[in-house]
């Protein structure tokens, strides 16, 4: 009888109630976490270290050590190239997307005619630019033809990044920087379409900065330019970290590595090799995440 009385006593206190309900509330997630995350994760690690044979009696798993990893990196013809390409893609795109979305958030925060319409347009990619639509769009023939027609028509051509490139090279900017920037201009659709959520997050952050700071700085004679560097940027710096992480995570769904892993798994039924590839991908993403978090969090300004 005593333990029950004990529990009942515990439940009557506020703290006890909180602990009880806390357990109830977390319980569904905990089951999901174990069944749909932890067990698959461990299994995936196990598969990646073994040879899997599917037969009529079920699957047979034999431990073979790191053979799958070695095979993924050295024998498989496409995997290491695609992995490196997609990692470089992430490293190139993340700074562009974060800077671009911060800039747009600042612009969209100003008061001007048609602000709500333009906000609505800029968040449209959050809804449209994902998954299958993107994939099919890139293979659309009509679009490709139209684009060709447009780019050969001269008017747009004059504004393309080629002129810009020449101008910057003449001005003495280093070649890699020029190529990086002109590449960004050419991929403007990709960048815009990937930065919807990031713009939202920055916008929300900018709006939470107290207007008194800006008023005070204006009284002291700061220009808008100075206010951006001395107030806006430090205040949203924690969100830069958030957005960098979000951008890296968001790139999972577009990564060509995913296709390679899926096709190795489901087309050729080489589950072991596929799991090894998935783990290599996961580990390299983690590496990028840790390095960028380390460098950014050193510079982040927290109010506390």
């Amino acid at each position: 009888m005593k333990p029950i009385a004990n529990i009942r006593e515990k439940l009557q206190s506020y703290e006890g109630q909180k602990a009880f309900w806390g357990f109830i509330f977390v319980f569904p997630w905990l089951i999901g976490f174990i069944v749909f995350f932890m067990i698959p994760l461990i299994n995936s690690l196990r598969y990646s270290l073994s040879n899997i044979e599917a037969s009529s009696e079920g699957i047979q798993i034999t431990y073979i050590g790191f053979t799958n990893y070695v095979q993924a990196l050295t024998v498989n013809t496409t995997f290491n190239r695609i992995l490196v390409e997609s990692l470089i893609d992430i490293i190139v795109n993340v700074p562009l997307i974060v800077i671009f979305s911060l800039f747009l958030a600042v612009v969209l925060n100003q008061k001007f005619f048609g602000r709500s319409v333009s906000r609505a347009i800029f968040f449209l990619p959050v809804i449209l630019a994902s998954g299958v639509i993107m994939n099919l769009e890139s293979s659309s023939l009509v679009q490709a033809v139209n684009q060709q027609a447009a780019s050969s028509s001269g008017a747009i051509n004059a504004l393309s990044s080629f002129e810009l490139e020449r101008m910057m090279l003449r001005a003495g900017v280093h070649e890699t920087i020029v190529l990086y920037l002109s590449g960004a201009v050419n991929r403007i659709y990709d960048i815009v379409s990937q930065s919807g959520v990031q713009i939202l997050i920055f916008l929300a952050g900018i709006q939470s900065i107290s207007p008194q700071l800006y008023e005070a700085s204006k009284v002291e004679g700061a220009t808008g330019y100075e206010a951006f560097w001395k107030i806006t940027l430090p205040m949203v710096s924690p969100l830069i970290l958030v957005n960098v992480i979000y951008t890296i995570i968001d790139s999972f769904s577009r990564s060509p590595v995913t296709d390679v892993i899926m096709s190795t798994g489901f087309d050729t039924f080489n589950f072991g090799l596929s799991s090894a590839m998935a783990w290599l991908y996961f580990l390299s993403i983690m590496l990028i995440l840790m390095v960028s978090t380390y460098f950014i969090s050193k510079r982040v300004f927290y109010q506390e």
Binding site: W21, G32, F36, A120, F122, I127, S140, Q143, G265
Partner: protein, 314 residues
């Protein structure tokens, strides 16, 4: 005199910035809208217009032929209904389970709460690709930690049904659920503790406090999570194409559209043309985006506001 000149210089600067801003925003908006406009224009074109050098944007022969074929091949209305059903169910269940978990992590004391929350972060960080194959095999012979075979004597195959989506949604582990739990936790942390304590003094238990006080207050976060969840589920091909191989939802229909087009259109004369097929494919994409765009038109104001207030920013 001097002041007037200064004023005018300031004025000039303001005008210049307004112009630059205007050009920039219109240009970028055009970049975003371009593919959609392009698709709308293509969808109404007749096949003849494709080769006409005069036609760029406005078709010469308006026709609904593309829509007819795309609707026929995709089995559009049926598919649409399935997709709305699937996305709706997962959205409601995911929001409910994530709200509970988020509240527990924000306010209730759980043993090892910090470690568990690190688990939530881990689910955000691990690419879904890494765990897909074990989940796939798990669902093919679903045992639920060995409970189901005890009851029925055999494991069940959950693939090709909505069960994988329902189960992952109930247990807050569906698509990007970790992110939703994070949003809810940040939001609930922002609500003052005093409110809860007042409710407790007035005699409300933790459950009552959550359902009667915290949830109504969390409306912005709920709207944000529901919208994201609905949209991502709608567009998701990653899980959908693995869990559902033969069911009709828009995501699977779209990804097999090019293939179906090539097969179905083969019989009709004059349709065995890659450009025409591409035209129908564009129409199909437009048809599957249309419900989302219409929905967005109605909720976008609320969407922007709710993200601003939902404490994603924390």
């Amino acid at each position: 005199m001097k002041i007037a000149r200064l004023l005018s210089l300031d004025n000039w600067k303001r005008w210049l910035w307004s112009t630059v801003r205007f050009v920039l925003i219109v240009g970028l908006a055009f970049v975003i809208l371009y593919p959609i406009l392009q698709k709308i224009s293509t969808a109404f074109k007749h096949q003849k217009d494709l080769y006409s050098p005069v036609v760029v944007w406005v078709p010469e022969h308006f026709s609904l032929e593309n829509f007819r074929i795309a609707i026929w091949i995709m089995d559009y209305w049926n598919t649409l209904l399935n997709t709305i059903l699937l996305a709706g169910i997962t959205t409601i269940l995911t929001t409910a389970s994530c709200a509970l978990a988020g509240y527990a992590f924000a306010r209730l004391k759980i043993k090892g709460g910090k470690i568990l929350f690190a688990g939530v972060i881990l689910t955000i960080l691990v690419p879904p690709t890494t765990i897909l194959i074990p989940i796939y095999m798990n669902l093919r012979e679903f045992t639920f930690m060995g409970i189901i075979p005890l009851l029925t004597g055999d494991s069940v195959n959950l693939l090709n049904s909505y069960w994988p989506f329902i189960l992952t949604a109930i247990t807050a582990s569906s698509l990007k659920a970790g992110l939703f739990i994070f949003i809810f936790r940040q939001f609930f942390k922002g609500i003052p503790k005093v409110i809860e304590e007042a409710a407790y003094i007035d005699g409300a238990g933790v459950g009552t406090t959550f359902f009667r006080i915290m949830l109504p207050n969390a409306l912005p976060a709920i709207v944000t999570v529901m919208l994201f969840s609905f949209v991502w589920q709608w567009n998701d091909t990653f899980y959908t194409t693995t869990y559902l191989t033969s069911s009709n939802v828009l995501a699977t229909q779209l990804s097999s559209l090019p293939y179906n087009l090539a097969i179905q259109l083969d019989g009709e004369a004059g349709t065995n043309d890659p450009f025409f097929q591409s035209m129908v494919q564009d129409t199909g994409i437009l048809l599957s985006m249309l419900p989302l765009i219409i929905m967005y038109l109605f909720v976008q104001r609320y969407f922007v506001q709710s993200v601003e207030r939902s404490g994603v920013v924390g």
